[in-house]
C-alpha cells in the first residue's frame, strides 16, 4: 500500500511542477526554488510530517522535502538552544542530499568525460 501512495503523491508533486513549467512558464530554477519554499512553509504549519507518514518516499524524494527538513532541523535545535539553534541546526537533517550531490558530482567529474 505504501508503494502505491508513494507513486501517487510523488507523481502529483511532479505534476504541480510540470504545471508551473507549462502554465506559469517558469524556468526549472524558479520552479524548484518555489517548491522548496512551499515545502518549508508546509512544515512551518506542521503539515509536511503527516504527508511523509502517509506517503513515505512519495513525500521525502521530491525536492519539497528539502525545505521541510531544513525547517525541521532548525526547529529541533531551536527547541534545545533557543534562537541561535535556528542557524546552527539548519543542515542537521538535510546534510545527506547536499553532501552526496557534492561527492558524487566530484566522482562523476573524475570518471566521466563531458559529451559534445
Amino acid at each position: 500500500m505504501m508503494f502505491f501512495w508513494a507513486f501517487v503523491v510523488g507523481g502529483l508533486i511532479c505534476v504541480i511542477g510540470q504545471l508551473m513549467f507549462d502554465i506559469l512558464k517558469l524556468t526549472p530554477g524558479h520552479t524548484l526554488s518555489i517548491l522548496v519554499v512551499i515545502g518549508a512553509l508546509l512544515d512551518g504549519f506542521g503539515l509536511y510530517e503527516p504527508l511523509i507518514d502517509f506517503a513515505g518516499a512519495g513525500a521525502t524524494v521530491p525536492i519539497t522535502s528539502f525545505g521541510n527538513s531544513l525547517v525541521h532541523g532548525a526547529m529541533q535545535e531551536a527547541d534545545q538552544h533557543g534562537l541561535i539553534g535556528v542557524v546552527t541546526g539548519m543542515f542537521e537533517m538535510t546534510s545527506s542530499g547536499i553532501t552526496s550531490a557534492i561527492i558524487f558530482g566530484m566522482i562523476g567529474a573524475i570518471l566521466f568525460k563531458p559529451k559534445g
Partner: protein, 172 residues
C-alpha cells in the same frame, strides 16, 4: 484542403493514442493496487477482522510471562485504526509496535500519543513505549517469535528491549 484533411487524420491518430494512454493509466493503477493488496494479505497475522489470531501464545519456557503484552495487544486491536500489533514486556517495561490503517496514517503521531496514554493508564506499573515505526514492528515481531519458540533468559530479554528502545529514541 489536403492539408486540412491530413491534419484531421493525424489528429485522429493522436487522439487515439491519447485514448489508449488514458486507458493505460487506470489499468496501471489497478495492477499496482491489486499487487499491493496481495502483499498486504501476506501478513496474515495482522488481519483486523480476527484480532485473536494476532496473539502470541507464549509457552512456559520463557521466564517472563507475556500476559501483559498480550493484554495490551488485545486492547489496542479493538481500535479500528489499528491493523496490527506486536508487544513484548519485561518485568518493568512494555514495548508496543503498531501498524495503522493507511488512510489514518495522516494522524499517525496523534494516534501514537493517544495509544501511549491509554496504555499508561491501564498498566501503571510498567514503563510504556509505543512506536508506529515499521522497523520497530519488525524487531518486535522477531523478538516475539523468539520468545515463542526458544528459551530466552530474562537478561537476554532486557538486553534486547533496551536495544529496541534505543532504536525508538533515535528517531526523535
Amino acid at each position: 484542403m489536403p492539408a486540412f484533411a491530413f491534419h484531421t487524420y493525424k489528429s485522429q491518430v493522436m487522439h487515439m493514442k491519447q485514448i489508449r494512454k488514458k486507458a493505460f493509466l487506470p489499468a496501471l493503477l489497478l495492477i499496482s493496487l491489486s499487487v499491493t493488496g496481495c502483499a498486504n494479505n501476506e501478513d496474515g497475522r495482522s488481519a483486523s477482522d480476527n484480532p485473536d489470531y494476532d496473539l502470541t501464545q507464549v509457552s512456559n519456557k520463557s521466564e517472563i510471562s507475556q500476559e501483559i503484552a498480550n493484554q495490551a495487544k488485545r486492547t489496542i486491536l479493538k481500535k479500528q485504526e489499528v491493523i496490527g500489533a506486536r508487544a513484548v514486556n519485561t518485568s518493568d517495561q512494555l514495548l508496543v509496535a503498531i501498524e495503522i490503517r493507511q488512510m489514518d496514517r495522516f494522524r499517525l503521531k496523534k494516534l501514537e500519543k493517544n495509544i501511549t496514554s491509554d496504555l499508561e493508564k491501564k498498566f501503571k506499573d510498567k514503563k510504556v513505549t509505543v512506536s508506529t515505526d515499521k522497523k520497530i514492528y519488525l524487531e518486535l515481531d522477531e523478538l516475539e517469535s523468539r520468545l515463542q519458540t526458544k528459551d530466552v533468559s530474562e537478561q537476554k530479554l532486557d538486553k534486547e528491549t533496551n536495544r529496541i528502545k534505543k532504536l525508538i529514541s533515535d528517531e526523535a
